[in-house]
């Protein structure tokens, strides 16, 4: 059904998106919690920085990643010493996707955390629950629909990442040529209109599936929350 090339692009895209979301879940939740529950100096600045990838041209983000994580970059030269090379690798594509998806994830998680009544957390504390137990038994379960939505939004965003990826990780077949990049390549090649249309259809189907899955998960989480016997 799928050609070898299509399958390669699709599986690479899924791998890149899964790694990107997997790696940003914990930092994303931490950032969302920090912004939702704590007041500190420079909060607006941190908030702004987090949202920057959402408003910057993706190429700028890719360029900044190249400057930072390139072989001679501020962090890249340290990583190179322990044999971690990010530019022009699929891991680099995952990093680019994670950075681009991070604001969306944090935003959804933060909104749901802000909706959790701090009074419930205080009540849990007076019942002898330490901060970690409060987090895992009260805060996180109540914010779960938002956490899932954030994860799914980030996944969808990571799948569709183009600009930052092509700038930072380039367009290497089998290594960094994800679905959007493969589609772009086909469009640039004369006589490949049919193949391009097929890839386009695949992209639409994947996006729809991830949105539906997100809705289904969030609803299931809500129902489980209301019907669960602890």
């Amino acid at each position: 059904m799928l050609s070898a090339l299509e399958w390669e692009a699709l599986s690479l895209s899924l791998k890149v998106a899964c790694v990107a979301v997997g790696l940003s879940l914990i930092p994303g939740f931490a950032a969302a919690w920090w912004l939702a529950r704590r007041e500190f100096r420079g909060k607006a600045l941190v908030d702004g920085l987090l949202h920057l990838p959402l408003v910057l041209p993706p190429v700028v983000v890719g360029y900044l990643l190249l400057v930072t994580f390139g072989r001679n970059g501020a962090i890249g030269q340290w990583l190179a010493r322990i044999d971690i090379v990010l530019p022009f690798t699929w891991q680099g594509a995952a990093l680019a996707a994670a950075v681009m998806a991070f604001p969306l994830m944090v935003r959804a998680m933060r909104l749901s955390l802000e909706a959790v009544d701090p009074g419930l957390e205080a009540a849990a504390r007076t019942l002898g629950a330490n901060p970690l137990r409060v987090l895992f038994t009260v805060t996180m379960p109540l914010a779960l629909p938002g956490i899932l939505t954030g994860g799914m939004l980030a996944f969808a965003r990571a799948l569709s990442e183009f600009g930052a990826t092509i700038t930072f990780a380039a367009n290497i077949p089998g290594e960094t040529r994800t679905l959007p990049l493969a589609l772009y390549t086909l469009i640039q090649t004369p006589g490949q209109e049919g193949a391009a249309a097929r890839l386009c259809a695949i992209a639409v189907v994947i996006a729809m599936l991830s949105l539906l899955a997100s809705e289904w998960l969030a609803r299931r989480a809500r129902l489980r929350m209301e019907g669960r016997d602890a």
């Binding site: 009544d117 009074g119 419930l120 205080a122 009540a123 849990a124 504390r125 007076t126 019942l127 002898g128 629950a129 330490n130 901060p131 409060v134 038994t137 009260v138 379960p141 109540l142 929350m225 209301e226 019907g227 669960r228 016997d229 602890a230």
Partner: protein
Amino acid sequence: MLNFHLHRQQGAFTLDATLKVPARGVTALFGRSGSGKTTILRLIAGLERPDHGHLRLDGECLTGGENDIFVPAHRRRLGVVFQEPRLFPHYSVRGNLRYGMPRALTPAQRQQNQSRLHEMVTLLGIEDLLSRMPGQLSGGEARRVAIGRALLSRPRMLLLDEPLTGLDGARKQELLHYIARLAREIEIPILFVSHDTRELFAVADRLALVDNGRITASGEIGDMLSRLDLAPQTGRFEAGSLLTAEVLSHDDDWQLTRLGLGAGLSLKLARLAMPVGRRVRLRLRARDISIALETPTHTSLRNALPAVIHEIESERGHASAELVLGIAGQRVRARVDRLVCQELGLKVGLGVKALISSVALSGPDVISLDAMDDDIPVVNAAQPSAAQPNATQTNTAQAKAPNDAGSASSAS
């Protein structure tokens, strides 16, 4: 025993409160809203930190002290019931009740937890609610679950922050009776924050007055209410006194009940629906007491009790004078005209007769100090399904709680 001195500055509001709370009974923090009652409670619970001060519970320092300790809320073992029930919406009632219970590691501990849960559920009449989610509970049910949840965490003290706000009259009455019974049955002290005088009449043993961030006076509730100098602050209580008494006998022909006040004195009032031997708290309004120099004859006032005048407060510019009488060793406030005071030659130390109209006293002025199920029926009209278990629960509670209410087993 809890004692504290806590200071905290919140904008223009200064809280500076000092209090000792004894190891037993119900102590009420009474004051207007905004006087700082809730802040005091939050400081005690460790949910807020004072600027300075100290707080000790049973000798253990929880706040302040030499090393400026601040024990976090989850290590204080203080049960708190907030103004809202604050049940966890994602846990069932059972899950909520279990949340604060000590973890059971052995089968014996599991067994013990199970029986404590069962006991509490019976005491609060929430057997039928265990598998429900908090969203499906009525206001009164949710409060009861919240109280049970706090008690099951084995607290060393129970802090109640106006737990009856937002309930309608019948629910309020119902829950008030659960709390009053709890106060007699559990062995841990209760600190009860309220601005409702009726609630305090029903449950409080001691009263601490809170005004503008300070605790201005504290003591036995009866003494506090009969202290003339505190009248400006206790003024929202109708001037009066609280006496303890016991139901001596009923007269079914004339529908009267005789209450013993101690020292061989008794008074009659309209028939009460309480068994003989029940200990009660009786509210006497100052305006319902008249003074005579000797027992009058040919009068409708049949309750003439020997009394001694302890204090007189008679000020120019007022028509009435405030008296404090000693009746059977209890302090009782009375109010008479200043003119009468002068004409009768009333003075401190004089023996008089206190005349109390039997019709002035009614059911709501008499509050049972023992198990309190029969005087006002538990209201459950809105939920016919819940009425049955409540009825059975009433019986078990009575069987379990005879007059020596101190023998409860729910607390460690």
